[in-house]
Symmetry: C2
Subunit: 233 residues, 2 copies
């Protein structure tokens, strides 16, 4: 079904088959979405890099469909994923020269791409847009702070529980959670190793708290138990 041609890391160096198609000025219904008419569409295939940390920050993006990961990689290959982004999330906004992290497509994604220059003008012209972005950023900051607690102070089981509940919340599919990302991605998001992620998830499965046949489709069977594990802050 999916062509998994390269590992998470090597993907960064893979030749970028990137399709960038300028799009006709979109539907005009102003008010609804202040960003709507400013962007062009862009598509990226699974595991391809949208931009690298440090690249001149010429654009920012909004996810239309699919999942994007934001990550930092150290010289010696350790990787930390700061966030998984889905429809509606904005990324690549920065007030400095370069991007603060790399952005990669976890699944095939469609994005809206906004030129830095144009968006700056637009923010000046339509202050409501600035407030909109402000709200998005402040939400992302809050979520990052939550993630700090997770990485700094939680056990493996607590991290997994929080992760699954968070995904469940975002998908609000009763108890069915689809994992767009592989175990390595989860590990790098939670500050663990693949092995620990696998072991912990299978332990939860053995206890009947979650269930899954294939690795990418998990069912939360006892949300209450998960919540207890996740440790309400």
């Amino acid at each position: 079904m999916h062509a998994y041609t390269n590992s998470a890391v090597s993907a960064a160096r893979a030749p970028m088959a990137m399709h960038l198609q300028p799009v006709s000025a979109a539907a005009p219904r102003a008010g609804a979405d202040p960003l709507e008419r400013l962007g062009t569409a862009a598509k990226f295939g699974r595991n391809h890099t949208i931009y690298f940390e440090g690249d001149e920050a010429g654009h920012c993006y909004r996810v239309k469909s699919g999942t994007v990961r934001l990550c930092k990689v150290t010289e010696d290959g350790r990787r930390q994923i700061a966030a998984f982004l889905t429809a509606g999330d904005l990324f690549g906004w920065t007030d400095h020269g370069g991007y603060g992290f790399s952005a990669e497509a976890v699944t095939d994604v469609t994005l809206e791409k906004f030129s830095r220059a144009r968006i700056e003008d637009a923010v000046k012209a339509f202050p409501a847009l600035g407030r909109h972005v402000l709200a998005l950023l402040s939400t992302q900051l809050a979520s990052a702070h939550g993630h700090l607690l997770l990485l700094g102070r939680m056990t493996a089981a607590e991290r997994i529980a929080n992760f699954l509940l968070e995904l469940g919340r975002r998908q609000r599919n009763d108890g069915a959670v689809a994992l767009a990302m592989c175990r390595k991605d989860i590990a790098d998001y939670l500050g663990l190793t693949v092995e620990t992620v696998s072991r912990t998830m299978n332990a939860l499965k053995r206890e009947g708290i979650i269930a899954f046949a294939e690795p990418e489709n998990v069912r939360l069977k006892q949300s209450a138990a998960l919540e207890r594990l996740a440790m309400a802050a």
Copy 2:
């Protein structure tokens, strides 16, 4: 539940006089600082709480002097400090009902306090102010992302090295770094224990990379060695 009930955070219970004095509308020179005339002054004594996580977010603040810590505490007393803030830093900005973390005075601090309602009006009236806040938030988000890498993927020595270098950068006092916070605060910021912080710092001292007589005044003797340890991303 916000009562500090255990030793991990006992510092917050220390008896301290808290001074809160509303202040006359300040110096009028507009232009220079878009926030200048909107705030009132507030002072908090060392280790006093400015607000609790979850409190109705009626105000936001800017640090004038001293150091503030932003933290989250779990039910069982584990604490994670998301950031230490110093002069010029803004905090308490949120687009949701309640604050996302508690704010506490590490040292005696003086703050500017902005009412949510007034600042919202001001942002509408002066879009430049909104852009200013946007820039601050985006910087904080970048810094949070850096911290995620530290917490998720770095060793104790790397965390300490990064911490000291970061403080040094902020104080740009050649090699002399003043630690406003105690070892426990450092530990909770770096996702370690007090013992590990102490051991690691004394190891660096033994190796001649840093030096200190009292715990709160460190001298970076071999910045190059520290940088190497800190592992340039």
